[in-house]
Structure formats: structure tokens, C-alpha cells
């Protein structure tokens, strides 16, 4: 049952009191309207971020409450974007919180017809073993093909392993990729930047 309003809160009395005869001014607002606040106001903290789509680099503010992202807005302080986001940038909230995101490691065995779930640590072990095996099997110390342009020249590499990275990777991630793969002798390290 609805709460019985206090007599003094009757609209007509409020209008008379506020001199809002037409009822189109502030007295038209309900108690609910008056107490509404953007959900960003309830955030525990705000992380400074950058849009992950194109390379303009619009500033983003990520609002967090109870360990969850509750909103994501343009950063008005940014000299690049002055608080603006485009349709993709504005959809970042859905990108990072959407139900499309997979949360488990999956494995498809040779000839398999379905994905299988495997633990992260085991998957990392398996990948590391395969990298070592492939590298050792395909190692090329020098160019050995007779008559090749650089026959006999030192190459110290494997052409058995390749990498292709997206261009939404962080600089720090690219750095470790290039560093590790170069140390392994993997030269076929490529990126969306080529495309």
C-alpha cells in the first residue's frame, strides 16, 4: 500500500508556498527525482584509462564499486578527447563487462570435434613444452641450403614458430613478446601494425 503523503507535501500547497502557480517549476519534481544521483557517484574509486579501440587515445574513467565496473565514461580532463567518446568508445563498458567474455582455458586435441576445458597452469605447461620441442626440432644455426645467397651465414633461429599480435596490446606486452621470442630465435614475430 502506498504511503499516505504528509499534508504539507500536497502539490498544491507546495506550489503555493514556492510561488510556482503553474506547477512547471521545481515543485513538479518528486522526492525520487530529487534524490536521484548518477551511478558514478556511488563508485568506490575511479581508474584513469584509455579507450582500447582506435589510436586517437581518448581518455576514459572507469568507475568501480565492490570490485565491479559500474560505469565507464569519457575523461573531461583529456586534451585529446575532452570527455568525448564515439559509439565504439562508449560501448567499452559492454566490451569489458559483457557476457561474451570467455573465462576458461579451452583445448582442442588433434582431430577433436569439441572444446575441452583444461586448467590454466596445465595449458601453460603444455604450450611451453610444445615451444621447446618445436624450437629444438626446427633449429637453424646457419643457412645450409647449397647455393643460397647467404650460404653458411649465421642465423640462429627457428622458422617453425610464428607469432601474430593485435595492436591493442600494451607496450609492455609487446616488449616482453619481442624480448622472449627473439631470445628463442623466433623471427616470424608480426603484428596488426603490418596489416
Amino acid at each position: 500500500m502506498a504511503k499516505v503523503p504528509i499534508l504539507s507535501e500536497w502539490p498544491v500547497l507546495r506550489q503555493l508556498r514556492a510561488g510556482d502557480a503553474s506547477g512547471l517549476g521545481a515543485t513538479a519534481a518528486s522526492e525520487r527525482t530529487r534524490t536521484l544521483a548518477p551511478r558514478t557517484a556511488s563508485a568506490d574509486r575511479v581508474a584513469r584509462s584509455v579507450c582500447p579501440y582506435c589510436a586517437v587515445g581518448c581518455g576514459q574513467l572507469v568507475y568501480v564499486k565492490d570490485g565491479k565496473i559500474i560505469d565507464l565514461e569519457g575523461d573531461p580532463d583529456s586534451p585529446v578527447s575532452q570527455g568525448c567518446l564515439c559509439p565504439k568508445g562508449a560501448a567499452t563498458f559492454q566490451l569489458v563487462t559483457g557476457a561474451h567474455r570467455m573465462e576458461h582455458v579451452l583445448y582442442r586435441r588433434p582431430g577433436g570435434t569439441a572444446w575441452e576445458r583444461i586448467p590454466l597452469d596445465r595449458a601453460l605447461d603444455m604450450v611451453a613444452e610444445r615451444v621447446k620441442r618445436t624450437r629444438d626440432e626446427t633449429w637453424q644455426e646457419r643457412i645450409e641450403e647449397p647455393g643460397a645467397e647467404h650460404e653458411g651465414a649465421l642465423v640462429r633461429r627457428t622458422l617453425g614458430i610464428a607469432h601474430l599480435g593485435g595492436a591493442t596490446l600494451d607496450n609492455e606486452e609487446n616488449y616482453l613478446i619481442k624480448k622472449l621470442f627473439s631470445a628463442l630465435g623466433v623471427v616470424q614475430v608480426e603484428n596488426q601494425a603490418r596489416i
Binding site: 581508474a47 584513469r48 584509455v50 582500447p52 582506435c54 589510436a55 586517437v56 587515445g57 576514459q60 568501480v64 565496473i69 580532463d77 585529446v80 568525448c84 559509439p87 565504439k88 566490451l95 569489458v96 559483457g98 561474451h100 573465462e103 582455458v105 579451452l106 588433434p110 572444446w115 603444455m126 604450450v127 611451453a128 613444452e129 618445436t134 645467397e149 647467404h150 642465423v155 622458422l159 617453425g160 614458430i161 610464428a162 607469432h163 601474430l164 595492436a167 591493442t168 596490446l169 600494451d170 607496450n171 609492455e172 606486452e173 616488449y175 616482453l176 624480448k179 627473439s182 631470445a183 623471427v187 616470424q188 614475430v189 608480426e190 603484428n191 596488426q192 601494425a193 603490418r194 596489416i195
Partner: protein, 861 residues
């Protein structure tokens, strides 16, 4: 730009509000055209003719900025007498070898010098030949001959004039389909907008780069901007609008085969191989800033190999792998399809949808032993073994595919610390807001823990080849139960530090070649200056001046405009009050300004090097382009480019017309993959494929769709694949707006909805009508919204400088209705290729030295 970089386009509108004229050159009428002062529709693949026409106009009408050109460019430099232009050799420069389809560069050089090392591009062309040079190149740069009057017939200025003499408004009209009056309006507007008080800017995106002459498109714009005095000045420049948040960073700290961090070339296999000395001789310059290269390489080796990198061991430089040719993406995928690649990491990328000839990509994936995919969702590249046209058609059975596939869910940018480098070279730090869910991890986490495991697996080895992985410095601090490595510690290593005390170096000028400093990427040195995470700086725009130097950090040395010495006149004064940016302070004897000056900070404008000077000391006070060996802006590129010192109009690999300028149809040095799973059309007038195809993005989606096709909001805004056609083509082919069409090339066939629109118009070339079909390329076989991928239609063919594919201009056919049977050349070639494409001869027009094409090679199956 309004479509694909909408928030950046706000600044174009801001400029328009202040009086700037906006010209939009695009085959389509888009949101950008709608607010531009002038929209110029152009035939895809003809931009060098268009820009070359503007250069011709600027030269013929004396609209170039004389003081700038004379002092800051190489216009006065005299070129070797052996040089021959495409005007002399029917579309070839001197030095072409028709057996290899490659040029030798000997005659492209300056007269009287011992080689010229470019600021960027192919520095290693001498090293690649295995010549084993014992000396640095370009030490005699100061002895080069010049003619300050620009009259010598072999000076760059006169060669330029001759090269573009035939790029007249009439030729532009016949080549690009741009009416003479429209073209002249563009040329006059640009030409007028030049000088001490005026600047103009070019903005471009992959519409310019994805061609077999893509690099030369940008070069043409560079030449024009140098002639107009628009480089290194506020309101000038050539802005590459890059399409991914840190694609600039992926180039700077390259996950690219041919580069080490900071545009240091990867070492090449050479004989004799004298280690680091050899590499330095092949890549460093005798004069200019690249004379410092050894410092950057030794510091990189120190950062990677730590205490194991010693002078006695040549800093472990020999532990780095060597190149012996092209190992770029398409080459790798073709080798994968031939069974040579066994394992593949795909991290945040979706090549079967986003790269060319998806069926050839899937053929490659089927030949792998193992594949690792890291992404948010199960994208096409992860699902290739069960969801693909060839599986649906029964040509390939899932059970027969032996590839092991690992899918690792990725953390979002909100779940990790790290920096992105935006399209203006500015690094911005993003903070971790929350922990990643479930097994989601950052790529940093993945690579770090993979590296840890591999170091453990190789710990006991005594093999020489395992030294690099054993020596690799990999002790990054971790956080929490998931042992997340510290991105800030990695940034600190990228910045560089003094080996003795581990303190961050303030910048690259402090790096040394004696092993006392370590630095992961010299151009980023300074990003952790004073122990402060500079990319994390967020001083509001309202609290600083318009350049906003305290928001983020731009490489190099927090400079916001490169080569900004050119924003002052030869005497060091601002060109005008309005265009004031960086200038010489005569009292303090220093360069100063709104930005960090991009010059030797205490070198006065009056400085002229003594004739014997080398290195940085050889740069005079009027040499703003300090990365170039001669300090000048290159109108003529004496080295660094594979396909010529001047940009020349060539038709795309597949065109509807003959080259109107030269008997040579296409770029003679372009990269082709002549395979049965990658068939080409005839170079021109293929009767089966009479229309031009071009691809592009939409505002509401992002490239191959991995970050947009799974989102409800964006999918609702653009739910379905479509093609854009003009009313005239629709009438000709019976295409109905909202109906279906089938689009075909020799690679495959796709179906999509039809948008009949005035946004695309037929162009008239010498009375002939050319139709263009527009194709967005975001959709593919999985995701919330699905559709046929446009990239299935496009072949592997590439620019020879950078191995980037030609997806912005090709040919194809269209017919009304749904006729696709999902056929692909890679799996169903016989049927699709029938009748066989008319291959050589002649692929190119019968010129004096027609390039013959090798017969198609049957891939191993």
C-alpha cells in the same frame, strides 16, 4: 576521419570553425564529406597521380615555399650522373634487374658521397647483399654537391620537375576520374595556403597504405608538404590516423619481424659476419643522429641479457636471430600452408577474418601442429577447425584437422596496468580498475609465465644456442596470487637505467656504448625519467597551455611535433607570430618554445660544421631533419626505399584500366604470391571482373570484429554485412536496395545485402565509366552478428617496402541475388578458377622491360 576517428575529427571541425578549408578525398561520400568544404571522389588506386598532379601545379605556378625548400630540403642536392628517371625508362628507374624484380640503388645516390643512410626504411640494403662492409656509410656527406640556385639539371629540384612534368590536370582527370575544375580547386587551395603565416595538414589512414605502392603514397604527400613548408610546424604535418589503440606502440616496440625496439633493424645474415661491428657498419650513419646507433644496440643487449652481455662476448649480440629475407605476415602464412611453420601464437588478432584471403589463412592453420589463440571470445581464428565455409561444404573434415588448439581468455585493458601509444606518438597509462575474472590474464602475464617455464626447461642446457634464453633478464616483480608481473617494472626497463645503480636514465642522450647503461627501447627513453611514470601524468588540459606537455608522454623526449626546428626560419625566428612554436633564444643561447625543441639544444642557427665533422657535429644550424644523414627533408629519397626515389603512378595489381603514364602497368617490385590458392586476375581489363572493389570500416565496428561483433549495442547499430553501389551500377546489374548480391573474385565469393546509394558515384575516365563497389570488412562466421567476410575476396599481394597488402583497390564482379556456394580458391579452386585466369604473358603491359610472372606454384597438400 569522421567515420573512423570521430573524436579526433572534432579538432578538424574546430579548425573549420576558425576558418580552415576542409577537403575530403575519398571514393565514397561519408560523414567527413558531409561537413567538408569540398568532397573529391577518386578512383581507388590512383592517388599518386592525384598528388603528383598537385606537385606539378605547385611547381608550375611557383607556389612552393622558397625559403623553406632551399634551406630545409634536399632540393639543391645534385644526384649521381648515372640516375635515370621513370620518364627516361618507360616506368622504371635506373638499376632494375628484371630477373629478380629488384632495384640496385647505386645510381640513386647523391653525387660525391659514400652512401646515404636513411632515417627510416631499409637501412640494411648494403648489408643484405652480404658485402660485409668494413666502414660506416655516409661519412662524406658534407662533401655532397649542391646548387643553391636549384638550376643544375641533376639537382633534386629539377629532377622533381621533370618527373612530374606529365602529371597535368588532364592526366589527373583521365587517371583519377576527378574533373579538371575540381582538381584545380584543390591544387590552388593547397598552393595558396603556404608560407610564413600559413600551414596545411594531411590526414590519412589505411586507404593510403594498403596498396602495392602504399609507401609511395605517403612519400608523395611528404614531397608536397616539404614544398609547401608544412613539416615540423604547428598546423602542418602528415597525420597517420592509425586504427588500433596502440598500433603505434606495436611499431615503436615492434612485434614486427624486421625491427628491434626503437626502429633498430633486425640483424641480417651476412658474410663475413663480424658481429656487432658488422651490424653497426651496415646500419649506422657516418653523420646525423643515426651515428649514435651503437649506443642503442649495446644498451638493448644490456637490457635483455644483463650481466651476461659483456664487451668480451660482443654484448651477446650474436645470440640474436638473423633474417635472410622476408618473414612478414603473409610470407609466414604461405609457408604455414606449405607445412613449414609448426606452431603459431595469435594474441588479440583475428587473421582469418581481418587479413587477406581468409581461406588461405585457414589452410595454413590446418597444417600447424599447434595454435595458441588469446582473445575475449572464440573468434573465427580459434574456431577455424569447425566453423568455416570449406567445413560446411564438406571439403574439409574437422576430424582430419590435426592442429592442437589452445584458447586462453584475455584480460581487458581495465583489468591490467599498461601503456598505449596513440597515433600522435603519445604514451598514456591505463590503470588496472579490477581483477580479471576466471582464467582471464593479460598478455603480459601469459608471456611472462611462458618465459619462466621456458627458462626452467632450458636451465640445464649447455648448448650455445640456448644461451640467449638462459641469459635473458626475466625477474620482474609479481603481484598477488595470480603472480601478475609488474607492467611498471617493464616500463622502467624500456626507459633504461644505469647498470651500476639501477637508476632510470633521464633520456636517450645519456645512453652509452660501453655497457654502463641498459635500455629496452631508446626512443622511449625518458618515459620513466626521475623514477616517475610519465605516461601516467594527467594534468588537466585546463591547467596547462595548448600543447599540453604534461598529459601523458610523447616519444622522443616528450616532443609533440617532430622536426620542430623547422617551425623557425633559418635565422631561428618563428616564421610568423601566428605560427610561433620553437625558436632560438639569442640571450640564453638555447632553443626554446612551447614544445621540447627537436634539435641540438645549444646549437645556434648560424652553426656550420667544419668539413671534417662527423656524427651529430656534422648537423648544421639549418638542418632540422636530424635523423636524416644530411639533416634535410627528402624530396628525393637516395636510399631506404625498395621501389624508387620518387613516387610514380602505377596501377594496382588488379585494375580496370591500363596505366595511362607508362608502359609499365604495376609497381615492378611489388610482392606477389603466385600460388594456386591465391590466384590473380589479369592486370587490367579482366573481362570476368569489370568493377573496382574497395574495403573500409564503419563507425560502429572495429576491424575484424573481435571487439565489436560480440557486443549487443554495436551489433544493433550495424547488424549486417552489406555492399555499397551507385544507382547507375544498380540499374546496370539489377541490384535492388535492401536485396541481396553476390560478389566474386578468383579467390572466392560472398553474399551480402545491397545498399544502393548516391554516396558512391560512377567516375568518368576519358569517357569511360568506372564503377566502384564498397565493402565494409567487419563480419565473419561467428559472433553475435554474422556475415560473409569481404577479406575472403582479396589476394596476398603487397607493397615491397613494408609487405602491406593491397586491399583498397582490386577488381571483382557483382550480380544480383544469392548465388554464393561458399567456394574458395584455396579449397575448391578448380571450379572457381574456371576458366583459368589469363596469366602471363603479358601480365603487365608490353613495355620495354615487361616483368614476366612466374607460373603458379601448386602448394603442397
Amino acid at each position: 576521419m569522421a567515420e573512423c576517428h570521430p573524436v579526433a575529427f572534432r579538432w578538424v571541425m574546430e579548425a573549420k570553425n576558425r576558418g580552415a578549408t576542409i577537403i575530403h578525398v575519398d571514393p565514397r561520400f561519408t560523414r567527413t564529406s558531409a561537413v567538408a568544404d569540398l568532397h573529391v571522389p577518386i578512383r581507388p588506386g590512383s592517388d599518386i597521380a592525384f598528388l603528383g598532379g598537385i606537385i606539378h601545379h605547385v611547381l608550375e605556378h611557383d607556389l612552393w615555399f622558397k625559403e623553406y625548400v632551399e634551406h630545409y630540403t634536399n632540393a639543391a642536392t645534385i644526384v649521381d650522373e648515372g640516375f635515370r628517371d621513370t620518364e627516361d625508362l618507360e616506368g622504371f628507374f635506373s638499376g632494375f634487374d628484371p630477373k629478380t624484380n629488384k632495384y640496385s640503388w647505386e645510381t640513386w645516390t647523391y653525387e660525391g658521397v659514400d652512401g646515404v643512410v636513411p632515417a627510416a626504411g631499409h637501412k640494411e640494403v648494403y648489408g643484405e647483399k652480404g658485402a660485409g662492409r668494413h666502414d660506416l656509410r655516409g661519412t662524406k656527406m658534407l662533401q655532397r654537391k649542391t646548387d643553391p640556385t636549384l638550376q643544375h639539371p641533376r639537382c633534386v629540384f629539377q629532377l622533381l620537375r621533370k618527373h612530374y612534368a606529365r602529371y597535368t590536370p588532364e592526366l589527373v582527370e583521365a587517371t583519377c576520374g576527378i574533373p579538371r575544375a575540381t582538381f584545380l580547386r584543390v591544387a590552388e587551395t593547397l598552393g595558396r595556403n603556404s608560407g610564413r603565416d600559413r600551414t596545411g595538414a594531411f590526414c590519412y589512414a589505411v586507404g593510403w597504405t594498403q596498396h602495392t605502392v602504399g609507401v609511395q603514397y605517403i612519400r608523395t604527400a611528404a614531397i608536397l608538404q616539404l614544398l609547401l613548408g608544412n613539416i615540423g610546424r604547428p598546423g602542418g604535418g602528415i597525420m597517420a590516423l592509425r586504427g588500433h589503440t596502440s598500433i603505434q606502440g606495436s611499431t615503436d616496440i615492434p612485434t614486427l619481424f624486421d625491427l628491434l625496439p626503437g626502429y633498430l633493424p633486425m640483424p641480417h645474415a651476412v658474410l663475413p659476419d663480424r658481429g656487432l661491428d658488422q651490424y653497426v657498419n651496415n646500419n649506422a650513419a657516418g653523420v646525423g643522429w643515426w651515428s649514435e646507433l651503437r649506443k642503442y644496440v649495446v644498451s638493448l643487449c644490456k637490457a635483455w641479457f644483463g650481466a651476461a652481455a659483456t664487451a668480451e662476448d660482443d654484448w651477446l649480440f650474436d645470440a640474436l636471430p638473423r633474417l635472410s629475407g622476408n618473414h612478414s605476415h603473409m610470407t609466414t602464412v604461405a609457408e604455414m600452408a606449405d607445412g613449414k611453420v609448426k606452431g603459431y601464437f595469435v594474441m588479440g588478432e583475428n587473421p582469418t577474418a581481418g587479413s587477406m584471403n581468409g581461406a588461405l589463412h585457414r589452410e595454413g592453420l590446418r597444417k600447424l601442429d599447434w595454435l595458441v589463440v588469446r582473445d575475449f571470445a572464440l573468434i573465427e581464428t580459434a574456431e577455424f577447425w569447425r566453423i568455416a565455409p570449406e567445413i560446411e561444404r564438406g571439403e574439409v573434415r574437422t576430424e582430419d584437422i590435426r592442429t592442437e588448439v589452445f584458447f586462453f581468455p584475455a584480460a581487458a585493458h581495465t583489468e591490467k596496468d599498461g601503456s598505449f601509444t596513440n597515433t600522435q606518438r603519445m604514451l598514456q597509462w591505463h590503470e588496472r580498475a579490477i581483477e580479471p575474472p576466471g582464467d582471464c590474464r593479460s598478455d603480459l602475464h601469459f608471456v611472462f609465465h611462458l618465459g619462466r617455464r621456458l627458462k626452467a626447461l632450458y636451465a640445464g642446457s649447455h648448448a650455445e644456442r640456448d644461451r640467449a634464453i638462459q641469459a635473458l633478464t626475466w625477474d620482474y616483480p609479481t603481484r598477488g596470487a595470480i603472480e601478475d608481473p609488474s607492467a611498471e617494472a617493464v616500463l622502467r626497463e624500456i626507459n633504461g637505467y644505469t647498470v651500476a645503480d639501477g637508476e632510470p636514465v633521464p633520456g636517450f642522450a645519456e645512453l652509452e656504448a660501453d655497457g654502463s647503461t641498459a635500455c629496452g627501447c631508446w626512443i622511449y627513453s625518458g618515459c620513466y625519467k626521475d623514477g616517475v611514470n610519465q605516461p601516467a601524468r594527467r594534468k588537466p588540459q585546463s591547467e596547462q597551455h595548448w600543447v599540453a606537455p604534461e598529459w601523458g608522454w610523447a616519444w622522443p623526449a616528450n616532443r609533440r611535433i617532430l622536426y620542430n626546428r623547422a617551425s623557425a626560419d633559418p635565422e631561428g625566428r618563428p616564421w610568423s607570430e601566428r605560427k610561433r612554436y620553437v625558436w632560438w633564444d639569442e640571450e640564453k643561447k638555447l632553443w626554446t618554445g612551447y614544445d621540447v625543441p627537436d634539435f641540438v639544444k645549444d646549437r645556434p642557427p648560424s652553426y656550420r660544421p667544419p668539413p671534417e665533422a662527423t656524427g651529430i657535429a656534422a648537423l648544421s644550424g639549418i638542418d632540422p631533419f636530424i635523423m636524416q644523414a644530411d639533416g634535410k627533408g627528402w624530396i628525393f629519397a637516395p636510399s631506404g626505399l625498395i621501389d624508387g626515389p620518387f613516387p610514380t603512378h602505377y596501377e594496382p595489381e588488379e585494375s580496370v584500366v591500363e596505366n595511362p603514364l607508362y608502359p609499365q602497368q604495376c609497381n615492378p617490385t611489388r610482392l606477389e604470391w603466385n600460388r594456386r590458392d591465391n590466384p590473380y586476375h589479369s592486370a587490367h581489363h579482366d573481362p570476368r571482373f569489370p568493377y573496382v572493389l574497395t574495403t573500409y570500416r564503419l563507425t560502429e565496428h572495429h576491424t575484424a570484429g573481435g571487439m565489436s561483433r560480440w557486443l549487443g549495442w554495436l551489433s544493433e547499430l550495424q547488424p549486417e554485412m552489406f555492399c555499397e553501389v551507385s544507382r547507375a551500377l544498380a540499374a546496370e546489374k539489377g541490384l535492388r536496395n535492401g536485396g541481396w548480391a553476390t560478389i566474386t573474385t578468383a579467390r572466392g565469393e560472398i553474399e551480402c545485402r545491397v545498399l544502393v546509394t548516391d554516396r558512391l558515384r560512377p567516375l568518368r575516365l576519358k569517357g569511360r565509366v568506372v564503377h566502384t563497389i564498397g565493402l565494409p570488412y567487419h563480419w565473419s562466421y561467428v559472433g553475435r552478428v554474422r556475415g560473409d567476410p569481404a577479406n575472403e575476396l582479396i589476394p596476398f599481394v603487397a607493397d615491397p617496402n613494408v609487405s602491406i597488402q593491397e586491399s583498397k583497390a582490386l577488381t571483382g564482379d557483382i550480380r544480383a541475388g544469392r548465388h554464393s556456394r561458399g567456394r574458395r580458391a584455396a579449397t575448391d579452386g578448380v571450379e572457381l578458377r574456371s576458366p583459368e585466369p589469363r596469366v602471363a604473358p603479358p601480365r603487365d603491359l608490353p613495355g620495354r622491360r615487361t616483368v614476366l610472372r612466374a607460373p603458379p606454384v601448386e602448394p603442397k597438400r
